[in-house]
């Protein structure tokens, strides 16, 4: 408690001020947009609806985080309203896109993000209503904002489907995948909340967050090139796609010195973990308060890394080790790195929220036993969805490629995810596993889901070249 209060130097804004500020900002941004729109004459275009959604989600996010900083309860109600408004605008964007493209929005990274952000907002509202977990927006809204911002960087024209994707099974498989992954994400969030309510020590969260961030930067550092460069994929400006040397092999360019930056930040984010270990070994609590300050500095360093990455990778011509001449790159060529950088900052911010506002969070969350049960129920929903997703994928593969199972990395990892959740269910139903161990299991399961979704595409190549 004393550690937390040392960090609480923030002046608590009065209840109404932030709400009024957010409301005015939303109104202002929408007014400007409407003025622009009135000139072009097309109010309900997809871009405008998406912009409106962004504005509302940003408002909701600000209010949720405002709650996080000050603990004022009324913020949550208005945040919910903002989320509702954003969801309506988002639904409009999805419908518009579907109509224009002639197929549900699943065919490109842009469309997947659109669907994902919609699902996130919908799930936030469901969790608030059905499970009475009112603070889940603190986690989901910032992710939604990042999603919409990422969308602005991507090629957004309606892309016709290549032959392999022209099948109803595309819609079935991808819908099931998104629902399954969303349910797994929800179970992860609930398991985290359980651990908070189960009085898991804040420093254990510190260690976990640090390990996660270190992992992200380790993955980022696989792009470290000798002499301090950083490898990114080259971008073909004319065709608006990655540059390929040959089938499936991308051309990489080296951004000089960015590798050193990433290495430096890696050191910065490893510091809290090292300090935590020292605190455990030497049994000295002072190391923990230094560790918490290190987390704060780590966030600033990560923001620096993000800014440098944005500045260097946004445009600019770089040389490549595999081909002669200079090639351009773009942020759209590195969606995973961007997501990883933002994800790391986000996770650390959430840890700070826990550090500074734990008693408030504990007051707003249901009790531990309930959360344990709800986590189990969410996994009971996720598991059949995972099963059906794999089955639909197998059937589709059979129709498109001639075999239902190829031990392709994505397929294999999907099966591993399935096995991990099957293990959870076995341990729970047959061996009565409950409480903390069950929560750890749920967290591990979601880590595997994230690896299947991101890690396989980024780190391991294969047949599954589409997403």
């Amino acid at each position: 408690m004393s550690r937390a209060s040392a960090e609480q130097q923030h002046p608590a804004a009065t209840g109404m001020t932030l709400i009024v500020l957010v409301g005015l900002s939303i109104a202002f941004l929408l007014a400007i947009a409407l003025l622009n729109v009135a000139k072009s004459g097309n109010i309900l275009s997809e871009a405008n609806l998406l912009y409106a959604a962004l504005v509302f989600y940003a408002g909701a996010g600000a209010l949720y985080l405002g709650f996080g900083v000050t603990g004022t309860e009324s913020y949550i109600t208005f945040a919910s309203l903002a989320t509702w408004a954003g969801l309506i605008a988002n639904t409009g964007a999805v419908a518009h896109r579907w109509y224009e493209a002639g197929h549900p929005p699943f065919a490109s990274l842009y469309e997947m993000l659109l669907s994902f952000v919609w699902t996130l907002a919908a799930l936030t509202l469901i969790a608030e209503k059905r499970y009475s977990v009112k603070v889940i927006g603190t986690v989901t809204m910032p992710v939604a904002i990042v999603g919409v911002v990422l969308m602005q960087l991507l090629r957004s024209d309606v892309r016709p489907l290549v032959p392999a994707l022209q099948s109803t099974w595309l819609h079935v498989h991808v819908t099931l995948a998104m629902l399954a992954y969303a349910a797994c994400a929800l179970s992860f969030a609930l398991a985290m909340m359980f651990l908070i309510q189960d009085k898991l020590k804040t420093e254990t969260f510190l260690a976990a967050t640090s390990v996660f961030t270190v992992g992200i930067y380790a993955a980022i550092l696989t792009r470290f090139e000798k002499w301090g460069g950083f490898n990114v994929v080259a971008w073909d400006v004319e065709h608006k796609s990655d540059v390929f040397i040959s089938r499936g092999v991308r051309l990489f360019v080296v951004i000089p010195d960015l590798g050193w930056m990433m290495l430096l930040v890696f050191g910065a984010v490893a510091a809290p973990l090292v300090l935590y270990i020292l605190a455990q070994v030497k049994k000295d609590e002072r190391f923990l308060s230094i560790a918490n300050r290190a987390v704060f500095i780590g966030i600033l360093m990560q923001m620096l890394a993000l800014i440098f990455f944005l500045l260097r990778a946004r445009d600019g011509q770089y040389s490549s080790l595999d081909a002669e001449g200079l090639y351009p790159t773009s942020l759209a060529a590195s969606p995973f790195i961007l997501s990883a950088l933002v994800g790391g900052i986000f996770a650390n911010l959430l840890y700070l929220l826990l550090l500074w506002r734990r008693p408030d969070l504990e007051r707003h969350l249901p009790d531990a036993v309930t959360l344990d049960r709800i986590t189990y129920k969410t996994i009971c929903i996720a598991f059949p969805l995972l099963t059906l997703m794999i089955a639909a994928g197998a059937y589709w593969a059979n129709r498109a490629w001639g075999s239902y199972w190829n031990w392709d990395p994505k397929e294999t990892w999907a099966a591993i995810t399935w096995l991990v959740y099957a293990l959870y269910l076995h341990m729970r139903i047959t061996r009565g596993m409950r409480g903390r161990v069950a929560a750890y299991f749920a967290v591990a399961g979601f880590a595997v889901v994230m690896f299947t979704f991101f890690g396989v595409t980024y780190l391991l190549p294969g047949l599954h070249a589409y997403a």
Binding site: A164, A391, R399, W401, Y404, W407, L423, H426
Partner: protein, 486 residues
């Protein structure tokens, strides 16, 4: 000796049927599958890439241990077989009890059972029959059926729902076994290959990767193939018109596209790829005399074909280059795709006995177009195409799909359908008063079940009320008229 063998068998059986064994086996499968995605696997990776990625000694080690083809090594297959055996053993060990429980419902709870059942309630009643009929009405109102069970001197009630739920877990595991069976059958008897056809050709020879080819008892004839692209060049559709010819007879025709294969006698033909063979079929040109006026002649040339232009001159198509590039004064081809086509014509004149090399397009330094007596304008270039078909025979897939369907059913029952039982027994409590004992049990979703149980008890209490109240209070309607006096 015999005794220790029996006890050894027994121990093996117990280990095999334990949940712990299953957990350990699943963890092992996870570890080795993960290894198989991180370590480059031979069937999918070119040998040069393997040698580039690993040092020779590391590669030798990985090959020896089997980590370069994890999913087909014997020990991985054995692991999967062990998992299947474990599932079978665990199910067989537990099934008899579950079946006994399923087939012989416990309808009449005895004293001991009633004492220890966690979910129960007691309601005082005046007489047995009134209590039982109130309970029956309560069940009816809640949409449940109750049957009367005859006991030694009285009746009791028993109501249950979804008894099948007790079998759900066995359905799920049986479905897993079906899927494994399908996989094994396909691994043993299934095969996958490739067939490349050009329009007009037919074949029954299937190429199989890393194995001798296969001959089918029937052949596939290609009557046409093509691709459609979107305006920006991305492929929209690959199609092939195929016909099945069995015993000299054409059985049927089908136009296949990606995602829509042709199936005949269990063999499936999938549209996999399409491309240019890079070979010329015909070149159609206009030949105009370069000096003086003369009619333009349209000629069609095949490779190496000689066509006379007039009494004196002949032209031969000597080379066709689909994707030309000039290097060191020579013309090479970059690929088989018709990107930058070039043709080499040789114009021979009887009179002058000259052979002039005409190139279209006119490649500087190599072409001698200026000396030719004719000027050639290309009109049409027809090149050969091929269609690539993926061919597979998977007899086990029906078992796999059956397993999937069964698993969907089983999972529904496991998670969403719970077996609920209710008993109502007239009995005497410790003080000797007549009470109605109500008990309930469910095999899952116990929190929802507790709600249902409370509802039932409240409903029974409500049904009992008129009985006790009727003795004292007059019917409401009559009370209204007498009191209000209207």
């Amino acid at each position: 000796m015999a005794l220790s063998l029996r006890s050894l068998l027994r121990k093996t059986w117990l280990t095999l049927s334990a949940v712990k064994t299953g957990v350990i086996l699943i963890i092992l499968v996870v570890i080795f599958s993960a290894a198989g995605t991180v370590i480059l696997q031979r069937p999918m990776t070119e040998p040069e890439d393997m040698q580039r990625a690993y040092s020779p000694s590391m590669l030798r080690f990985l090959d020896a241990v089997g980590l370069t083809d994890v999913f087909h090594t014997r020990w991985f297959v054995t692991l999967l077989v062990l998992v299947s055996l474990c599932i079978i053993a665990a199910s067989v060990e537990r099934f008899p009890n579950a079946w006994r429980f399923f087939s012989r419902p416990y309808k009449s709870p005895d004293d001991g059972f009633r004492r220890v059942l966690p979910t129960q309630a007691q309601i005082p009643i005046c007489n047995e029959e009134a209590g039982l009929s109130a309970a029956e009405r309560a069940f009816q109102r809640l949409g449940m059926k109750a049957e009367r069970i005859v006991r030694t001197n009285s009746f009791s009630l028993f109501s249950e729902r979804n008894r099948i739920s007790e079998m759900a877990v066995y359905i799920v595991h049986a479905s897993l076994l079906l899927i494994f069976l399908g996989g094994i059958v396909d691994a043993l008897y299934g095969w996958r290959g490739f067939l490349m056809l050009t329009p007009g050709s037919a074949s029954n020879q299937i190429e199989i990767r890393n194995a001798p080819g296969r001959s089918l008892p029937f052949s596939i004839r290609c009557d046409g193939a093509g691709e459609e692209t979107y305006t920006d060049g991305t492929p929209k559709k690959y199609w092939s018109k195929l016909a099945v010819v069995d015993n000299e007879r054409e059985i049927f025709r089908k136009e296949i596209v990606v995602n829509d294969p042709l199936v005949y006698h269990g063999v499936r033909f999938y549209q996999s790829s399409y491309g240019n063979t890079g070979k010329l079929e015909a070149l159609i040109l206009n030949a105009v005399p370069s000096k003086g006026s003369g009619p333009a002649k349209e000629i069609s040339l095949g490779l190496n074909q000689i066509v006379p232009l007039d009494a004196d001159t002949k032209v031969q198509l000597s080379e066709f280059i689909p994707d030309y590039v000039v290097e060191d004064g020579k013309v090479f081809t970059r690929s088989n795709d018709v990107e930058n086509p070039a043709v080499h014509l040789i114009v021979t004149s009887e009179k002058t006995d000259q052979a002039i090399n005409v190139w279209l397009p006119e490649i500087p330094g190599i072409a001698e177009n200026a000396y030719a007596p004719y000027v050639f304008q290309p009109k049409e270039l027809r090149t050969g195409v091929f269609t690539g078909l993926q061919v597979s025979h998977e007899p086990g897939q029906w078992s796999v799909w059956a397993g999937v369907a069964l698993m969907a059913l089983g999972l529904t029952f496991v998670f969403y359908v719970s077996h609920k039982r209710f008993w109502v027994v007239p009995a005497h409590n410790l003080s000797g008063e007549l009470i109605l004992w109500i008990g309930g049990a469910a095999n899952r979703n116990r929190d929802v079940f507790e709600q249902n149980f409370k509802e039932l008890v409240e409903q029974i209490k409500k049904e009992l009320q008129p009985e006790t109240a009727a003795a004292f209070a007059p019917p409401a309607a009559i009370a209204g008229t007498t009191i209000a006096g209207r």
